[in-house]
């Protein structure tokens, strides 16, 4: 009897504690509970408040009520696949209020499982991140405008530098010409940095546009290598293999990826004299690898190199400048061509960056 009473007291205490937890959660988060088909069974006050719908309008409906049509079918499919298999889904979702206004929520959907381990209900906990998203957008727009504005003075600076260079050539002033060459190459560096910032903004705001055509990859590779060979006296860039299939994509952007990988190979292998460009293809994919014999990347850092602003830093690499944008931009360009980029590297021996692209025939 005493034992039973204690059980009852424990149970009561537990419910009390749960109520406290729910109280705290309701005051901090937007909460919804749905059945396994996604029909809403419960929403808290914060959900009602942010969505603009009454509780009655929401119960029994699915989250489609607040769907803003922003996310792709793949995005939704992945969400459902994750939670239906009993896993927790985390992500950012854009929703729409009853009045048609958009709001962003940071979301965690946790499946509540039955005895057989199958999802019975889903609990969705959201946090309002609309302000954060607005700030992010403002930041991206600012970088976009700022980098566009930066290009104007760079254009006239470059123009004047080249006018001066020409005049020095006419006067036979070789020393001054060599200074002007250095100045011009620094102006070019500055202008590439600005372009990288612009590209990142375009990627972040979804404004990166592709002008697609059928590309003869051997021709493109040859063209790029001829230009890149001019930028290094130390390294010999050697091609191996051949590509037998065309690619459908943006010629300039794919060229930009190769330029980025080769510049990196040059930059990070100051003590070697060779860079290999390995070409291969089958009916479905074209593969291009850039292999250098430079400083390499430590294993634990390799998975981060395609992240925005990531820079491999360490005692040895401290001397390599950069914004950490090139590989991020390159990987995004390849990803948006339905391709993939990867890296293999050994510290002290060098790195091989590869990308694959679907062939034209496999895409039509």
């Amino acid at each position: 009897m005493i034992h039973k009473q204690r059980g009852f007291a424990d149970h009561k205490k537990m419910i009390h504690e749960l109520e406290h937890t729910k109280y705290a959660l309701d005051h901090s988060a937007i909460v919804a509970l749905t059945d396994k088909t996604g029909k809403i069974k419960y929403v808290n006050d914060k959900f009602v408040e942010i969505s603009g719908y009454s509780r009655e309008e929401l119960i029994g409906k699915t989250h489609r009520v607040i769907n803003s049509q922003y996310h792709s079918a793949d995005f939704m499919k992945n969400l459902w696949k994750t939670i239906l298999s009993g896993n927790i889904w985390k992500g950012e979702i854009r929703n729409k209020t009853k009045n048609g206004k958009y709001y962003w929520v940071d979301t965690t959907i946790t499946p509540l499982l039955d005895e057989k381990g199958k999802p019975e209900q889903f609990i969705a906990i959201h946090y309002d991140i609309t302000k954060l998203k607005d700030l992010e957008k403002q930041k991206d727009e600012f970088i976009g405008i700022a980098s566009h504005e930066l290009k104007t003075p760079v254009t006239s600076l470059k123009g004047y530098a080249q006018v001066l260079r020409k005049r020095f050539i006419k006067d036979g002033n070789k020393v001054a010409v060599s200074y002007m060459d250095k100045m011009d190459s620094q102006i070019n560096k500055l202008s590439f940095l600005i372009q990288d910032l612009l590209d990142v903004t375009k990627i972040e705001t979804g404004k990166l546009q592709f002008h697609t055509e059928i590309i003869d990859m051997n021709h493109l590779v040859k063209e790029i290598l001829e230009t890149m060979q001019l930028t290094t006296e130390k390294h010999l860039i050697v091609t191996q293999g051949k590509i037998k299939h065309a690619v459908f994509g943006d010629r300039e952007r794919i060229g930009q990826v190769m330029i980025n990988l080769i510049s990196n190979a040059i930059k990070y292998s100051p003590k070697s004299d060779k860079i290999h460009v390995l070409l291969s293809s089958d009916t479905n994919t074209v593969k291009i690898c850039i292999k250098d014999y430079g400083v390499g990347i430590p294993k634990e850092k390799q998975k981060h190199v395609f992240k925005r602003f990531y820079r491999v830093s360490g005692a040895k690499e401290d001397t390599f400048p950069g914004l950490g944008l090139g590989l991020y931009i390159s990987a995004e360009i390849i990803k948006r061509h339905q391709g993939d980029m990867s890296v293999e590297s050994t510290t002290g021996e060098g790195s091989t960056f590869c990308f694959i692209l679907p062939t034209y025939n496999s895409t039509v």
């Binding site: 566009h148 104007t152 254009t155």
Partner: protein, 120 residues
């Protein structure tokens, strides 16, 4: 022989000046415009080449290009679109321009493109 005449429209004074300097060094007669308004007013005596910026304060160079290319008398003026936009080539094609140049440019590219139309 009369000097070939180039009109440059760009809202940045410094870019106008340096382009003028480059082209005058090559023996061209250069006129400049900060907003491209002059192009609408021209009645005759058209330039041999028009260098046109896209983003000018309050004015869209694309509209000017479309106007020139649809004007019965002005449509034969070669238009070279000059812009800092990476998609300048596509923009130029879309508005019917004859050529394009991306900022910042190499002066030899500027001279080469202008020559292409004045030497015709």
């Amino acid at each position: 022989m009369n000097k070939k005449r180039i009109l440059i429209a760009d809202d940045d004074q410094s870019i106008l000046e340096v382009m003028q300097l480059i082209l005058e060094d090559e023996g061209y007669e250069v006129a400049t415009s900060v907003d491209g308004e002059d192009i609408y007013k021209m009645k005759g005596d058209f330039p041999d080449v028009l260098l046109l910026d896209i983003r000018m304060s309050g004015i869209d160079g694309r509209d000017i290009c479309k106007y020139v290319k649809s004007h019965i008398l002005k449509k034969d003026i070669p238009v070279i679109i000059i812009s800092a936009n990476k998609d300048t080539e596509q923009i130029a094609r879309k508005v019917g321009a004859d050529d394009f140049l991306t900022k910042p440019f190499e002066i030899d590219d500027l001279i080469g493109k202008v020559k292409k139309y004045t030497d015709m």
